[in-house]
Protein backbone atom coordinates (compact mmCIF):
# COMPACT_ATOMS: atom_id res chain seq x y z
CA UNK A 1 0.00 0.00 0.00
CA UNK A 2 1.41 3.36 -0.96
CA UNK A 3 1.91 5.82 1.87
CA UNK A 4 -0.56 8.60 1.36
CA UNK A 5 0.08 12.07 2.70
CA UNK A 6 -0.60 12.85 6.32
CA UNK A 7 -3.92 14.53 6.96
CA UNK A 8 -2.83 16.87 9.73
CA UNK A 9 -5.76 18.02 11.85
CA UNK A 10 -3.90 19.02 15.00
CA UNK A 11 -3.11 22.68 14.30
CA UNK A 12 -4.02 23.68 17.86
CA UNK A 13 -1.00 21.67 18.98
CA UNK A 14 1.34 23.15 16.43
CA UNK A 15 1.51 24.04 12.74
CA UNK A 16 4.01 23.56 9.93
CA UNK A 17 6.15 26.62 9.21
CA UNK A 18 4.81 28.35 6.09
CA UNK A 19 7.21 28.67 3.12
CA UNK A 20 6.83 32.48 3.23
CA UNK A 21 7.97 32.41 6.86
CA UNK A 22 10.96 30.18 6.08
CA UNK A 23 11.95 32.57 3.28
CA UNK A 24 11.79 35.56 5.59
CA UNK A 25 13.91 33.77 8.20
CA UNK A 26 16.54 32.51 5.76
CA UNK A 27 18.72 35.60 6.03
CA UNK A 28 18.89 35.47 9.84
CA UNK A 29 20.94 32.29 10.21
CA UNK A 30 24.31 33.04 8.65
CA UNK A 31 23.92 36.39 6.92
CA UNK A 32 22.33 38.72 9.45
CA UNK A 33 23.61 36.71 12.37
CA UNK A 34 24.87 39.54 14.59
CA UNK A 35 23.89 40.08 18.18
CA UNK A 36 21.41 42.97 18.21
CA UNK A 37 23.25 44.41 21.23
CA UNK A 38 26.57 44.65 19.36
CA UNK A 39 27.71 48.04 18.15
CA UNK A 40 29.27 46.90 14.86
CA UNK A 41 27.53 46.70 11.53
CA UNK A 42 26.61 43.00 11.94
CA UNK A 43 24.93 43.79 15.26
CA UNK A 44 23.18 46.85 13.84
CA UNK A 45 21.84 44.84 10.90
CA UNK A 46 20.38 42.23 13.29
CA UNK A 47 18.96 44.98 15.50
CA UNK A 48 17.27 46.48 12.45
CA UNK A 49 15.63 43.13 11.59
CA UNK A 50 14.53 42.66 15.17
CA UNK A 51 12.96 46.10 15.40
CA UNK A 52 11.33 45.81 11.98
CA UNK A 53 9.76 42.56 13.17
CA UNK A 54 8.55 44.19 16.35
CA UNK A 55 7.03 47.07 14.37
CA UNK A 56 5.40 44.69 11.92
CA UNK A 57 3.78 42.70 14.74
CA UNK A 58 2.68 45.89 16.51
CA UNK A 59 1.07 47.28 13.39
CA UNK A 60 -0.75 43.96 12.72
CA UNK A 61 -2.20 44.31 16.20
CA UNK A 62 -2.70 48.05 16.04
CA UNK A 63 -0.52 48.72 19.07
CA UNK A 64 2.75 50.58 19.79
CA UNK A 65 5.96 48.77 18.85
CA UNK A 66 7.58 49.49 22.23
CA UNK A 67 4.77 47.55 23.90
CA UNK A 68 5.83 44.19 22.40
CA UNK A 69 8.23 42.05 24.45
CA UNK A 70 9.52 38.88 22.81
CA UNK A 71 9.57 35.71 24.91
CA UNK A 72 10.38 32.04 24.34
CA UNK A 73 6.71 31.31 23.76
CA UNK A 74 3.26 31.85 25.18
CA UNK A 75 3.93 29.83 28.33
CA UNK A 76 6.65 32.31 29.26
CA UNK A 77 4.43 35.23 28.21
CA UNK A 78 1.61 33.96 30.47
CA UNK A 79 4.03 33.50 33.37
CA UNK A 80 5.52 36.95 32.80
CA UNK A 81 2.08 38.56 32.71
CA UNK A 82 0.81 36.97 35.93
CA UNK A 83 3.94 36.64 38.04
CA UNK A 84 5.51 39.83 36.64
CA UNK A 85 2.41 41.89 37.43
CA UNK A 86 2.17 40.41 40.93
CA UNK A 87 5.80 41.07 41.78
CA UNK A 88 5.74 44.61 40.39
CA UNK A 89 3.23 45.66 43.03
CA UNK A 90 4.34 47.48 46.13
CA UNK A 91 1.83 45.61 48.29
CA UNK A 92 2.20 41.94 49.16
CA UNK A 93 -0.65 39.48 48.66
CA UNK A 94 -3.49 40.51 46.41
CA UNK A 95 -5.94 38.55 44.32
CA UNK A 96 -6.28 37.35 40.71
CA UNK A 97 -9.43 36.18 38.90
CA UNK A 98 -9.17 33.63 36.08
CA UNK A 99 -11.45 31.02 34.51
CA UNK A 100 -11.35 27.29 35.24
CA UNK A 101 -10.55 26.52 31.59
CA UNK A 102 -7.32 28.52 31.34
CA UNK A 103 -4.23 26.93 29.87
CA UNK A 104 -1.94 25.21 32.39
CA UNK A 105 0.57 28.03 31.84
CA UNK A 106 -1.91 30.31 33.63
CA UNK A 107 -3.29 27.79 36.14
CA UNK A 108 0.13 26.60 37.28
CA UNK A 109 1.49 30.16 37.43
CA UNK A 110 -1.43 30.86 39.79
CA UNK A 111 -0.39 27.83 41.88
CA UNK A 112 3.13 29.26 42.10
CA UNK A 113 1.76 32.68 43.06
CA UNK A 114 -0.34 31.15 45.82
CA UNK A 115 2.93 30.17 47.47
CA UNK A 116 3.91 33.87 47.27
CA UNK A 117 0.73 34.87 49.07
CA UNK A 118 -1.32 35.85 46.00
CA UNK A 119 -4.81 34.39 46.15
CA UNK A 120 -6.90 33.49 43.13
CA UNK A 121 -10.48 32.70 42.22
CA UNK A 122 -11.36 30.54 39.24
CA UNK A 123 -14.67 31.55 37.67
CA UNK A 124 -16.61 28.52 36.40
CA UNK A 125 -17.60 28.42 32.75
CA UNK A 126 -21.01 27.25 31.54
CA UNK A 127 -21.63 23.97 29.70
CA UNK A 128 -20.48 25.58 26.42
CA UNK A 129 -17.25 26.82 27.99
CA UNK A 130 -18.26 30.49 28.20
CA UNK A 131 -17.16 32.84 30.95
CA UNK A 132 -19.99 35.06 32.21
CA UNK A 133 -18.70 38.66 32.63
CA UNK A 134 -21.13 39.03 35.55
CA UNK A 135 -19.41 36.11 37.28
CA UNK A 136 -16.06 37.82 36.76
CA UNK A 137 -17.50 41.01 38.26
CA UNK A 138 -18.84 39.05 41.22
CA UNK A 139 -15.44 37.45 41.82
CA UNK A 140 -13.59 40.79 42.00
CA UNK A 141 -12.40 41.78 45.46
CA UNK A 142 -11.01 45.10 46.70
CA UNK A 143 -7.51 43.59 46.45
CA UNK A 144 -7.98 42.07 42.97
CA UNK A 145 -5.30 43.51 40.71
CA UNK A 146 -5.55 41.22 37.65
CA UNK A 147 -8.05 39.22 35.62
CA UNK A 148 -6.77 36.57 33.20
CA UNK A 149 -9.19 35.03 30.69
CA UNK A 150 -8.10 33.29 27.51
CA UNK A 151 -9.54 34.76 24.30
CA UNK A 152 -10.46 31.40 22.76
CA UNK A 153 -10.18 27.92 24.25
CA UNK A 154 -7.35 25.78 22.89
CA UNK A 155 -9.29 22.61 23.66
CA UNK A 156 -12.92 23.31 22.81
CA UNK A 157 -12.62 26.53 20.81
CA UNK A 158 -15.16 28.59 22.75
CA UNK A 159 -14.69 32.35 22.39
CA UNK A 160 -14.85 34.55 25.45
CA UNK A 161 -16.51 37.97 25.78
CA UNK A 162 -13.15 39.76 25.87
CA UNK A 163 -14.68 43.14 25.13
CA UNK A 164 -17.16 43.03 28.03
CA UNK A 165 -14.60 41.65 30.48
CA UNK A 166 -12.11 44.28 29.33
CA UNK A 167 -14.63 47.08 29.84
CA UNK A 168 -15.42 45.75 33.26
CA UNK A 169 -11.74 45.59 34.25
CA UNK A 170 -11.15 49.09 32.91
CA UNK A 171 -14.04 50.42 34.99
CA UNK A 172 -12.76 48.71 38.10
CA UNK A 173 -9.13 49.69 37.55
CA UNK A 174 -7.95 46.06 37.28
CA UNK A 175 -5.39 44.75 34.80
CA UNK A 176 -6.77 42.39 32.17
CA UNK A 177 -4.55 39.70 30.65
CA UNK A 178 -5.71 37.48 27.82
CA UNK A 179 -3.99 34.43 26.36
CA UNK A 180 -4.69 34.92 22.66
CA UNK A 181 -2.58 32.02 21.38
CA UNK A 182 -5.40 30.35 19.44
CA UNK A 183 -7.37 33.51 18.63
CA UNK A 184 -4.63 35.68 17.15
CA UNK A 185 -4.95 36.02 13.38
CA UNK A 186 -8.28 34.15 13.35
CA UNK A 187 -10.76 36.43 15.10
CA UNK A 188 -10.71 40.16 15.81
CA UNK A 189 -9.37 41.04 19.22
CA UNK A 190 -10.90 44.15 20.78
CA UNK A 191 -8.00 45.40 22.91
CA UNK A 192 -9.66 48.42 24.51
CA UNK A 193 -9.81 47.03 28.01
CA UNK A 194 -6.86 44.66 27.65
CA UNK A 195 -3.52 45.44 29.32
CA UNK A 196 -1.58 42.25 28.58
CA UNK A 197 -1.82 39.75 25.72
CA UNK A 198 0.14 36.52 25.18
CA UNK A 199 0.83 34.99 21.77
CA UNK A 200 2.92 32.27 20.18
CA UNK A 201 4.28 31.95 16.63
CA UNK A 202 4.13 28.19 16.12
CA UNK A 203 0.33 28.09 16.34
CA UNK A 204 0.06 30.21 13.19
CA UNK A 205 2.64 28.68 10.88
CA UNK A 206 5.60 30.44 12.50
CA UNK A 207 8.61 28.85 14.19
CA UNK A 208 8.66 27.25 17.64
CA UNK A 209 10.49 28.96 20.48
CA UNK A 210 9.16 32.48 20.01
CA UNK A 211 6.21 34.27 21.56
CA UNK A 212 5.45 37.72 22.78
CA UNK A 213 3.67 39.55 25.52
CA UNK A 214 1.99 42.76 24.53
CA UNK A 215 2.26 45.10 27.51
CA UNK A 216 0.09 48.18 27.34
CA UNK A 217 2.13 51.33 28.06
CA UNK A 218 2.05 52.12 31.76
CA UNK A 219 1.61 48.49 32.88
CA UNK A 220 4.38 47.64 35.34
CA UNK A 221 5.91 44.16 35.29
CA UNK A 222 8.83 42.75 37.25
CA UNK A 223 11.10 40.61 35.05
CA UNK A 224 11.26 36.84 35.57
CA UNK A 225 14.53 36.43 33.68
CA UNK A 226 17.40 38.61 34.80
CA UNK A 227 20.50 39.44 32.82
CA UNK A 228 21.69 42.04 30.36
CA UNK A 229 18.52 44.11 30.42
CA UNK A 230 17.22 43.20 26.95
CA UNK A 231 13.65 43.98 25.93
CA UNK A 232 13.67 47.17 27.99
CA UNK A 233 14.68 45.24 31.08
CA UNK A 234 11.53 43.10 31.10
CA UNK A 235 13.07 40.00 29.52
CA UNK A 236 16.83 39.56 29.43
CA UNK A 237 18.66 37.23 27.08
CA UNK A 238 20.07 37.69 23.58
CA UNK A 239 17.09 38.25 21.34
CA UNK A 240 15.84 35.40 19.13
CA UNK A 241 16.16 37.30 15.85
CA UNK A 242 15.24 34.36 13.58
CA UNK A 243 12.19 33.72 15.75
CA UNK A 244 11.11 37.37 15.80
CA UNK A 245 11.47 37.65 12.02
CA UNK A 246 9.55 34.39 11.59
CA UNK A 247 6.78 35.49 13.94
CA UNK A 248 6.37 38.80 12.11
CA UNK A 249 6.23 37.02 8.75
CA UNK A 250 3.72 34.46 10.08
CA UNK A 251 1.47 37.18 11.45
CA UNK A 252 1.64 39.21 8.21
CA UNK A 253 0.68 36.06 6.31
CA UNK A 254 -2.17 35.29 8.71
CA UNK A 255 -3.62 38.77 8.35
CA UNK A 256 -3.06 38.90 4.57
CA UNK A 257 -4.94 35.66 3.93
CA UNK A 258 -7.41 35.85 6.79
CA UNK A 259 -10.30 36.67 4.46
CA UNK A 260 -9.72 33.50 2.46
CA UNK A 261 -8.59 31.12 5.20
CA UNK A 262 -11.00 31.90 8.03
CA UNK A 263 -14.23 31.53 6.02
CA UNK A 264 -12.93 28.17 4.78
CA UNK A 265 -12.21 27.11 8.36
CA UNK A 266 -15.71 28.18 9.37
CA UNK A 267 -17.19 26.17 6.52
CA UNK A 268 -15.11 23.06 7.30
CA UNK A 269 -16.07 23.32 10.97
CA UNK A 270 -19.72 23.51 9.90
CA UNK A 271 -19.27 20.34 7.87
CA UNK A 272 -17.64 18.59 10.82
CA UNK A 273 -20.45 19.60 13.17
CA UNK A 274 -23.14 18.45 10.76
CA UNK A 275 -21.55 15.18 9.77
CA UNK A 276 -19.69 13.97 12.86
CA UNK A 277 -22.72 14.55 15.08
CA UNK A 278 -24.66 12.10 12.90
CA UNK A 279 -22.58 9.29 14.38
CA UNK A 280 -24.78 7.89 17.19
CA UNK A 281 -23.66 8.60 20.76
CA UNK A 282 -21.70 11.70 19.83
CA UNK A 283 -21.69 15.17 21.38
CA UNK A 284 -20.06 18.48 20.64
CA UNK A 285 -17.86 19.88 23.39
CA UNK A 286 -17.85 23.65 23.14
CA UNK A 287 -20.16 26.18 21.58
CA UNK A 288 -21.81 25.56 18.19
CA UNK A 289 -21.30 29.14 16.96
CA UNK A 290 -19.39 31.24 19.52
CA UNK A 291 -16.19 29.46 18.60
CA UNK A 292 -12.77 29.81 17.08
CA UNK A 293 -13.10 28.82 13.43
CA UNK A 294 -10.46 26.08 13.48
CA UNK A 295 -11.36 23.95 16.51
CA UNK A 296 -14.09 21.32 16.86
CA UNK A 297 -14.14 19.02 19.86
CA UNK A 298 -16.38 15.94 20.00
CA UNK A 299 -16.96 13.10 22.43
CA UNK A 300 -17.96 9.56 21.52
CA UNK A 301 -19.74 7.37 24.06
CA UNK A 302 -18.37 3.92 24.92
CA UNK A 303 -14.87 4.41 23.58
CA UNK A 304 -11.63 5.85 24.81
CA UNK A 305 -9.88 8.72 23.01
CA UNK A 306 -6.30 7.51 23.01
CA UNK A 307 -7.23 4.37 21.08
CA UNK A 308 -9.30 6.49 18.68
CA UNK A 309 -6.25 8.70 18.03
CA UNK A 310 -4.21 5.55 17.30
CA UNK A 311 -6.86 4.22 14.90
CA UNK A 312 -6.92 7.56 13.07
CA UNK A 313 -3.12 7.68 13.03
CA UNK A 314 -3.05 4.31 11.27
CA UNK A 315 -5.29 5.83 8.61
CA UNK A 316 -2.89 8.76 8.22
CA UNK A 317 -4.87 11.29 10.25
CA UNK A 318 -3.33 13.33 13.08
CA UNK A 319 -5.71 14.67 15.74
CA UNK A 320 -5.75 14.86 19.53
CA UNK A 321 -7.78 13.93 22.60
CA UNK A 322 -8.38 15.13 26.14
CA UNK A 323 -8.52 11.54 27.36
CA UNK A 324 -6.79 10.66 30.63
CA UNK A 325 -4.92 7.83 28.95
CA UNK A 326 -3.17 10.30 26.69
CA UNK A 327 -2.02 12.57 29.50
CA UNK A 328 1.09 11.95 31.58
CA UNK A 329 -0.85 12.18 34.86
CA UNK A 330 -3.79 10.01 33.70
CA UNK A 331 -6.33 12.74 34.48
CA UNK A 332 -8.95 13.67 31.91
CA UNK A 333 -8.83 17.23 30.54
CA UNK A 334 -9.69 19.88 33.15
CA UNK A 335 -11.40 21.84 30.39
CA UNK A 336 -13.84 19.05 29.48
CA UNK A 337 -14.64 18.45 33.15
CA UNK A 338 -15.16 22.22 33.59
CA UNK A 339 -17.76 22.04 30.79
CA UNK A 340 -19.45 19.32 32.88
CA UNK A 341 -18.82 16.74 30.17
CA UNK A 342 -19.62 13.39 31.87
CA UNK A 343 -16.38 11.68 32.81
CA UNK A 344 -16.94 8.72 30.46
CA UNK A 345 -17.50 11.13 27.57
CA UNK A 346 -14.42 13.15 28.56
CA UNK A 347 -12.38 9.96 28.03
CA UNK A 348 -13.82 9.64 24.53
CA UNK A 349 -12.97 13.11 23.25
CA UNK A 350 -11.51 14.03 19.88
CA UNK A 351 -10.18 17.47 18.97
CA UNK A 352 -10.00 18.34 15.29
CA UNK A 353 -8.12 21.55 14.50
CA UNK A 354 -7.70 22.78 10.95
CA UNK A 355 -5.01 25.00 9.43
CA UNK A 356 -4.49 27.31 6.47
CA UNK A 357 -3.97 24.36 4.13
CA UNK A 358 -6.73 22.05 5.33
CA UNK A 359 -9.03 21.13 2.44
CA UNK A 360 -12.43 19.58 1.91
CA UNK A 361 -10.59 16.41 0.79
CA UNK A 362 -8.87 16.23 4.20
CA UNK A 363 -12.23 16.44 5.93
CA UNK A 364 -13.67 13.87 3.44
CA UNK A 365 -10.92 11.45 4.45
CA UNK A 366 -11.60 11.99 8.15
CA UNK A 367 -15.35 11.57 7.68
CA UNK A 368 -14.73 8.35 5.78
CA UNK A 369 -12.40 6.86 8.40
CA UNK A 370 -13.96 8.14 11.62
CA UNK A 371 -17.28 6.23 11.65
CA UNK A 372 -15.42 2.93 11.06
CA UNK A 373 -12.87 3.66 13.77
CA UNK A 374 -15.69 4.53 16.17
CA UNK A 375 -17.68 1.36 15.42
CA UNK A 376 -14.59 -0.85 15.63
CA UNK A 377 -13.71 0.47 19.08
CA UNK A 378 -17.32 0.29 20.24
CA UNK A 379 -17.49 -3.34 19.10
CA UNK A 380 -14.68 -4.06 21.58
CA UNK A 381 -16.28 -2.08 24.40
CA UNK A 382 -18.42 -3.54 27.20
CA UNK A 383 -20.53 -0.38 27.01
CA UNK A 384 -23.07 -0.17 24.24
CA UNK A 385 -24.45 3.02 22.75
CA UNK A 386 -28.15 3.60 23.23
CA UNK A 387 -28.61 1.14 26.08
Amino acid sequence: MAMSKLVYLDHSATTPVAPEVLDAMAVTWSETYGNPSSLHSAGRAAKRLLEESRESIASSLGVRHDEIVFTSGATEADNLALIGASRARAARGGHIVASNIEHHAVLHALDALRREGVESTLVEVDEFGRVDPAAVAAALRPDTFLVSILAGSNEVGTLQPIEEIGALCQKRGVLFHTDAVQALGKVSLPLDGVSLLSASAHKLHGPKGIGFLWIRKGTRLAPLIHGGGHERGVRSGTENVPGAVGFAAALRLAFAEKDQVVPRMVRLRGRLLREVLQIPGTRLNGHPSESLPHIANFSFAALEGESLIMRLDEAGIAASTGSACSSPNLEPSHVLLALRVPISMAHGSLRISTGRQTTDEDIDHLLEVLPHAVSELRAMSPFKVGE
Binding site: A301, A302, L303, E304, E306, S307, M310, E314, S323, A324, C325, S326, P328, L330, P332, L337, R340, P342, I343, S344, H347, A379, M380, S381, P382, F383
Partner: protein, 172 residues
Protein backbone atom coordinates in the same frame (compact mmCIF):
# COMPACT_ATOMS: atom_id res chain seq x y z
CA UNK B 1 6.03 4.71 22.53
CA UNK B 2 4.35 1.32 21.89
CA UNK B 3 6.16 -1.83 20.76
CA UNK B 4 5.31 -3.43 17.41
CA UNK B 5 3.69 -6.30 19.27
CA UNK B 6 1.37 -3.92 21.15
CA UNK B 7 0.39 -2.18 17.93
CA UNK B 8 -0.16 -5.54 16.21
CA UNK B 9 -2.54 -6.72 18.97
CA UNK B 10 -4.28 -3.33 18.95
CA UNK B 11 -4.75 -3.52 15.19
CA UNK B 12 -5.88 -7.12 15.06
CA UNK B 13 -7.04 -8.07 18.55
CA UNK B 14 -7.55 -11.75 19.34
CA UNK B 15 -10.62 -13.23 21.09
CA UNK B 16 -12.56 -9.98 21.02
CA UNK B 17 -16.25 -9.84 21.98
CA UNK B 18 -18.57 -11.59 24.40
CA UNK B 19 -18.62 -15.40 24.54
CA UNK B 20 -22.11 -16.75 23.84
CA UNK B 21 -21.74 -19.59 26.35
CA UNK B 22 -19.38 -18.24 29.00
CA UNK B 23 -19.13 -19.93 32.39
CA UNK B 24 -17.94 -16.85 34.28
CA UNK B 25 -16.86 -13.26 33.85
CA UNK B 26 -14.30 -11.02 35.54
CA UNK B 27 -15.17 -7.33 35.50
CA UNK B 28 -12.43 -4.87 36.43
CA UNK B 29 -11.52 -1.24 35.85
CA UNK B 30 -13.61 1.86 36.17
CA UNK B 31 -14.76 4.35 33.62
CA UNK B 32 -13.35 7.06 35.86
CA UNK B 33 -9.86 5.73 35.13
CA UNK B 34 -10.61 5.33 31.45
CA UNK B 35 -10.15 1.54 31.39
CA UNK B 36 -12.83 -1.11 31.81
CA UNK B 37 -12.16 -4.77 31.02
CA UNK B 38 -14.69 -7.58 31.09
CA UNK B 39 -13.08 -10.98 30.60
CA UNK B 40 -15.24 -14.01 29.79
CA UNK B 41 -14.17 -17.63 30.31
CA UNK B 42 -15.72 -20.92 29.26
CA UNK B 43 -14.51 -23.76 31.46
CA UNK B 44 -14.45 -27.29 30.07
CA UNK B 45 -12.70 -30.59 30.78
CA UNK B 46 -9.71 -31.58 28.67
CA UNK B 47 -8.93 -35.15 27.53
CA UNK B 48 -7.39 -35.95 30.91
CA UNK B 49 -10.44 -34.64 32.73
CA UNK B 50 -8.79 -31.48 34.03
CA UNK B 51 -10.75 -28.24 34.07
CA UNK B 52 -9.30 -25.81 31.55
CA UNK B 53 -10.20 -22.43 30.09
CA UNK B 54 -11.52 -23.86 26.84
CA UNK B 55 -12.33 -20.39 25.57
CA UNK B 56 -11.51 -16.85 26.67
CA UNK B 57 -12.77 -13.54 25.31
CA UNK B 58 -13.06 -9.93 26.38
CA UNK B 59 -14.73 -6.56 25.98
CA UNK B 60 -12.60 -3.53 26.74
CA UNK B 61 -13.13 0.21 26.98
CA UNK B 62 -9.67 1.69 27.03
CA UNK B 63 -6.52 2.88 25.38
CA UNK B 64 -4.24 1.08 22.94
CA UNK B 65 -2.40 -0.64 25.80
CA UNK B 66 -5.64 -1.76 27.47
CA UNK B 67 -6.84 -3.34 24.22
CA UNK B 68 -3.48 -4.99 23.50
CA UNK B 69 -3.18 -6.40 27.05
CA UNK B 70 -6.74 -7.75 26.84
CA UNK B 71 -5.88 -9.51 23.62
CA UNK B 72 -2.61 -10.86 25.04
CA UNK B 73 -4.04 -12.11 28.34
CA UNK B 74 -6.77 -13.97 26.45
CA UNK B 75 -4.09 -15.69 24.34
CA UNK B 76 -2.06 -16.58 27.41
CA UNK B 77 -5.04 -17.92 29.36
CA UNK B 78 -6.62 -20.04 26.65
CA UNK B 79 -6.15 -23.76 27.23
CA UNK B 80 -4.66 -23.27 30.70
CA UNK B 81 -5.94 -25.05 33.82
CA UNK B 82 -7.60 -22.88 36.48
CA UNK B 83 -4.45 -23.18 38.63
CA UNK B 84 -2.20 -22.14 35.75
CA UNK B 85 -4.47 -19.27 34.77
CA UNK B 86 -4.39 -17.56 38.15
CA UNK B 87 -0.58 -17.71 38.10
CA UNK B 88 -0.47 -15.43 35.03
CA UNK B 89 0.85 -12.05 36.21
CA UNK B 90 0.76 -8.56 34.78
CA UNK B 91 4.50 -8.93 34.22
CA UNK B 92 3.87 -11.98 32.00
CA UNK B 93 1.39 -9.97 29.92
CA UNK B 94 3.71 -6.96 29.59
CA UNK B 95 6.74 -9.14 28.78
CA UNK B 96 4.88 -11.04 26.06
CA UNK B 97 4.03 -7.69 24.48
CA UNK B 98 7.68 -6.67 24.47
CA UNK B 99 7.11 -4.19 27.30
CA UNK B 100 4.74 -1.31 27.98
CA UNK B 101 5.43 2.38 28.64
CA UNK B 102 5.73 2.86 32.45
CA UNK B 103 2.58 5.00 32.57
CA UNK B 104 0.66 2.13 30.91
CA UNK B 105 1.76 -0.69 33.21
CA UNK B 106 -1.55 -0.50 35.08
CA UNK B 107 -3.27 -1.77 31.92
CA UNK B 108 -1.41 -5.08 32.20
CA UNK B 109 -2.30 -5.22 35.91
CA UNK B 110 -5.93 -4.81 34.89
CA UNK B 111 -5.66 -7.70 32.42
CA UNK B 112 -4.22 -10.09 35.02
CA UNK B 113 -6.81 -8.93 37.58
CA UNK B 114 -9.66 -9.58 35.15
CA UNK B 115 -8.47 -13.13 34.60
CA UNK B 116 -8.23 -13.73 38.37
CA UNK B 117 -11.70 -12.27 38.86
CA UNK B 118 -13.15 -14.50 36.13
CA UNK B 119 -11.75 -17.61 37.82
CA UNK B 120 -12.99 -16.28 41.19
CA UNK B 121 -16.47 -15.80 39.69
CA UNK B 122 -16.37 -19.35 38.31
CA UNK B 123 -15.42 -20.91 41.64
CA UNK B 124 -18.10 -18.89 43.48
CA UNK B 125 -20.75 -19.99 40.96
CA UNK B 126 -19.63 -23.59 41.43
CA UNK B 127 -19.77 -23.22 45.22
CA UNK B 128 -16.17 -24.30 45.43
CA UNK B 129 -13.47 -23.19 47.89
CA UNK B 130 -11.50 -20.09 46.82
CA UNK B 131 -7.70 -20.21 47.06
CA UNK B 132 -6.47 -17.78 49.73
CA UNK B 133 -4.46 -15.62 47.30
CA UNK B 134 -7.33 -15.28 44.88
CA UNK B 135 -9.71 -14.30 47.68
CA UNK B 136 -7.29 -11.64 48.97
CA UNK B 137 -6.84 -10.26 45.48
CA UNK B 138 -10.61 -10.08 45.02
CA UNK B 139 -11.05 -8.22 48.32
CA UNK B 140 -8.28 -5.81 47.39
CA UNK B 141 -9.95 -5.00 44.07
CA UNK B 142 -13.32 -4.44 45.76
CA UNK B 143 -11.73 -2.12 48.32
CA UNK B 144 -10.20 -0.05 45.55
CA UNK B 145 -13.59 0.26 43.86
CA UNK B 146 -15.08 1.75 47.00
CA UNK B 147 -12.18 4.19 47.43
CA UNK B 148 -12.38 5.28 43.84
CA UNK B 149 -16.13 5.79 43.88
CA UNK B 150 -15.75 7.93 46.98
CA UNK B 151 -12.98 9.99 45.41
CA UNK B 152 -14.92 10.68 42.24
CA UNK B 153 -18.41 10.79 43.76
CA UNK B 154 -19.02 14.28 42.37
CA UNK B 155 -18.16 13.29 38.81
CA UNK B 156 -19.91 9.93 38.99
CA UNK B 157 -23.16 11.55 40.02
CA UNK B 158 -23.45 13.01 36.54
CA UNK B 159 -22.40 9.85 34.84
CA UNK B 160 -24.92 7.12 34.21
CA UNK B 161 -22.46 4.80 32.53
CA UNK B 162 -20.18 4.68 35.53
CA UNK B 163 -22.83 3.30 37.82
CA UNK B 164 -22.36 -0.29 38.78
CA UNK B 165 -19.08 -0.76 36.99
CA UNK B 166 -16.32 -2.05 39.22
CA UNK B 167 -13.18 -0.04 39.78
CA UNK B 168 -9.48 -0.32 39.31
CA UNK B 169 -7.12 0.56 42.09
CA UNK B 170 -4.02 0.57 39.97
CA UNK B 171 -4.41 4.09 38.70
CA UNK B 172 -5.47 5.80 41.92
Amino acid sequence: MYTEKVVEHFRHPHNMGKLADFSAVGKVGNIVCGDVLWLYIRVDKDEEGREILADVSWETFGCTAAIATSSMVSDLAKGKTLEQAIEITNRDVATELGGLPPVKMHCSALAAEALGEAVYDYLVKQGRPIPERLRLRHEHIQKDVAALEKRYAAFLGADEQAKGSPGCGSCT
